[in-house]
Structures are given as C-alpha cells and as structure tokens.
C-alpha cells in the first residue's frame, strides 16, 4: 500500500511544473561574493545589509546594525543603543546558538533560570534587542538571534563569557590589552561587587569612555591604590583577559573612575556598551561552554573567545 502511495507522490512531484530560480537570485549570487564585506572574508553579518541595499530583493524589514556612532551622542547615563533594532514581526531568519552550563554538580532548573535571567539582563543593558534566551534540559542555554541583531563575535563576547570583572594594580608590568592574565597574580583593587553604577559615554572625536562609580569599600581601595602610584598602570580584567591597561595620572579620591578610549585603541563604543551590560547584570552564576553545531549544521557557532 505504501509502494502505491510512494509512486503517486513521485509522479505528483514529477508532473508538477516547478519554476526556475528568478533572475534576482542569480544577481544576488553575484553580489554576495562582490560585496566588500564578503571579500574581507567571513563572519560579517553586514553582508546581509549590503545585499538588501544593493539588490533590493529581500524584504528583511529590519534595520541594520550600525557599528559605531551614526547619530547624535547618546545620553551619558545610558549605554548607546542599536540604531535600529528588529521587531519580532520583522524577523525573517533566526540562528540558534547553544551553550552548556559548566557546573561541578547537577544543574537544576533554578540554576538555568538564573543564568537565563542574567543573560537577558546583560543583553538588555548592552542595548541589544530582539535576541531570545532560553534553556533546555539537561543544562543547556539556547540563544536565538535574528541574523541582523548582532554578529557572532559580539554574541560570543556578550553571552559566552562569565563576566568576572576585576581591576588589579599592575605596577610597572609591561602588559597590553588583549593579553591573558592571571588576576590573582596582581593585587586586586576592586571587582564588580564594588561597582554601584556603570555607564558608557561617547563624545564625537574622542572615542568611547567607561565610567564606574564605586561603593565606599571600592572607593577607599581605589584611593589607596592610586595614591603614590602615579605613572603606574591598572589592569581592567574581564574573564581573564586584559580589557584595558590605563595609566594612573592622578590619585582617585572620589570613587569615580573614567577610562577613556581613544580612536586608535580599537575599543569601540559597542565594546564599552557590552562591558556596561555585563557589569550591570553581574557575573553569571556558572560558566558557559559553546556547543558546536552537529555535522548537518552550517556555521552558526560563535567563534571561541581569544
């Protein structure tokens, strides 16, 4: 009986007059490989934006992500938000990223809820909209991101790291940002638990700044660390990587520390906004490990953190 049905299906498909790919797809194929972003090689989600603008074929209904400032300076008390965020009704394609919760005991539903809540807050505070965060047993976190919401590198930075933040006194050590560091090897000045407020600001022509207001304990520690240490450096460490190595120009006595990034430093306002999001949400209760896609999955896996 199945054989008869199967043959009927084959015949039905064979006799169906299916259309050929429209000319617009051939044009799109040419343009995918022509766009400057695609030529620079892989992983740039702005290729989608270039495609839509160049071909005017796909109605994505979402705004592009703007890297850097495209409008007036943002409100200094809140991190910069995306220039145009996709609304749920405008989603045309979602990519799922999955993470394993790393714990030294069985992960409970309450644990997963805590991680999800923390990640949602982190994304929200970083100004990222339209990304769904959920969980599934056993011990997995899933993140559904519209292709236009954020690129895999940014996702990896925002979601993949635990968010353990500490500022240490480097003294005269010659270290540079991007380096791995064992924060326990240097005296800790303050960590995220001492921060009462974190903000990102940006001024035209000056790059982005990170402003941290410390509570009484942190403020006292900062005063003590900076007095008599002019000319030495502090290390701003996030998940074991030096985010910044600012030099101490004067003692800080009021508990307010501002780290300014020049345009030559390679730290964008988006980077700072992400750090603010991470700081406001606090560190995750558990570390996360990306789950690679299966053999049938295309490359939607965020790259490993450096």
């Amino acid at each position: 009986m199945n054989d008869d049905l199967e043959q009927r299906l084959r015949d039905a498909f064979r006799t169906a007059s299916l259309p050929s790919a429209p000319e617009s797809l051939h044009v799109a194929l040419d343009r995918v490989t022509e766009s400057p972003a695609a030529r620079r090689g892989a992983g740039r989600w702005e290729v989608l934006r270039v495609l839509a603008v160049a071909a005017a074929i796909v109605v994505l209904g979402v705004g592009a992500i703007v890297a850097g400032q495209s409008g007036p300076p943002p409100d200094p008390v809140s991190p910069p938000t995306d220039a145009a965020s996709p609304s749920p009704s405008a989603w045309t394609n979602l990519t799922r990223f999955e993470y394993r919760v790393l714990a030294d005991r069985p992960v409970t539903d309450a644990d997963l809820d805590a991680v999800v809540e923390s990640l949602q807050r982190r994304l929200s505070e970083a100004g990222v909209n339209g990304v769904g965060v959920g969980s599934r047993s056993p011990g997995r976190i899933v993140v559904d991101a519209p292709d236009s919401a954020l690129d895999p590198e940014r996702l990896s930075r925002l979601v993949g790291g635990r968010g353990e933040f500490v500022v240490v006194a480097l003294g005269d050590a010659a270290l540079s940002s991007g380096q791995s560091i064992d924060p326990t090897a240097y005296p800790a000045v303050f960590d995220s638990s001492d921060i009462s407020a974190a903000d990102a600001t940006a001024e035209e022509g000056s790059g982005a700044s990170l402003e941290l207001r410390l509570g009484p304990v942190g403020a006292e520690a900062l005063r003590s660390a900076t007095e008599g240490a002019v000319g030495q450096s502090l290390g701003v460490v996030l998940d074991g990587i030096l985010f910044a190595v600012p030099m101490i120009h004067a003692p800080i006595r009021d508990g307010v520390i501002t780290i300014a990034f020049g345009s030559q430093d390679g730290v964008t306002s988006e980077d700072v906004a992400d750090l603010v999001g991470i700081l406001r949400a606090g560190p995750l209760p558990f570390a996360l490990e990306p789950v690679p896609p299966g053999p049938g999955e295309p490359s939607s896996w965020p790259p490993a953190r450096p």
Binding site: A12, P19, L25, V32, G41, P246, I248, G294, P298
Partner: protein, 188 residues
C-alpha cells in the same frame, strides 16, 4: 569627569586581510550557480511560498559564501549547500505562522497565485503536505522529489537514520489519512 588614562597600549582591533583574489569567488560561483534552480525549487516545496523560498536561498548563499573555505571537497558543494538550505527552511517553518489567503466565493478577484502554492493546491496528494509537520514535509520532499536515499536525507538534515525512517512513516500515514478523508468527502 576625570580622564583616567591616555595613551592606551596597543590596539585590540582585529586586522582582516583581504581575500587572495578572484579564485575562491570563481570557484564558488561555478559551484553555486548550477544549484540555484534546484535550491529554489527545494525551498519552494518546503516553504510553499516563492518569496520565502527566494529569501531562504539568498540567506543560504550568504552563509555558504562565508563558510566556503571550510568545504574541503568542492565536488560535495551540492549536499553541503543542501544542508545549509534545509536548516534555513526548517527554522522558517518552525517559526512562521501560516496565513492563507482564502478567496471569497462569488467575488471576482484577480489573485496573483504563488507558483508553489498553486502546485500544492492543484494536486490532492500534494495538498496533504500542508498537514505535515515541518520535519515530515522535509522528509517527503527530499525523498520523493529530491529522490534521495534515506541515508542522504539523514545527512542533509543532521538526523539519525532511525529518525528519518520514523518521520517518513508518520508522514505517509498522514498523507494516506488525508487522501482517505478527501475520498469520503467526494462520496457524499
């Protein structure tokens, strides 16, 4: 506001080198262009909508170009691209709400028919595709239109072979039930 630091140390900005030349592009175009018709038809049969099919193929082309360097054997481009496209279509099927335009009887509307919708609606058996789950529809299309072996379907979808078999079995049962239901209607 107290500025705390300048000058900073070396930049963290990643430097991306441009591609070596046109060779990867030529290889990609040569591999992808012959696949376009097939890909569009596959997406159209899976999604039942020409516009969505075009979007899905376009998205897949972008992903494929971005990860082209990871394809070790260019001769395997077809199955490799199929996997990308199938996943894109499955995601769309799982997430969309289907709004079907129902013509009002007695009114003379000039309705622009979607070619893939028309195909499905014109044939009683293919109309049953709308009653399948996204994964069941995928198996049926790949098996009976794509003429793939079950092992190849498993490879495209990233499923175990047993899963492919059970989904195919359920899909055929549903299609048969759908046909039987139609026959009962005709007899009345």
């Amino acid at each position: 506001m107290r500025t705390f630091a300048l000058p900073m140390d070396d930049s963290r900005a990643a430097v991306r080198e441009p591609d070596a030349g046109a060779s990867p592009r030529s290889a990609f175009l040569a591999a992808a262009r012959p696949q376009l018709d097939r890909a569009y038809r596959l997406a159209g049969l899976l999604l039942g909508d020409a516009h969505e099919a075009e979007d899905a193929v376009q998205d897949s082309l972008v992903v494929a170009w971005q990860s082209f360097a990871s394809l070790r054997d260019p001769k395997r481009f077809g199955p490799w691209f199929d996997r990308i496209l199938v996943n894109r279509c499955r995601d769309r099927l799982r997430r969309r709400r289907i709004v079907r335009f129902v013509p009002i009887e007695g009114e003379d509307h000039a309705i622009e028919r979607d070619p893939f919708r028309s195909i499905v609606e014109r044939d009683a058996l293919l109309a049953g595709l709308d009653g399948l789950t996204p994964d069941e529809r995928l198996v049926v299309v790949l098996r009976f239109w794509g003429d793939l072996r079950l092992e190849d379907i498993a490879n495209r979808a990233g499923w175990p072979l047993g899963t492919v078999k059970s989904r195919l079995h359920r899909a055929l049962a549903r299609l048969r039930a759908s046909l039987d239901g139609d026959r009962k209607e005709e007899r009345r």
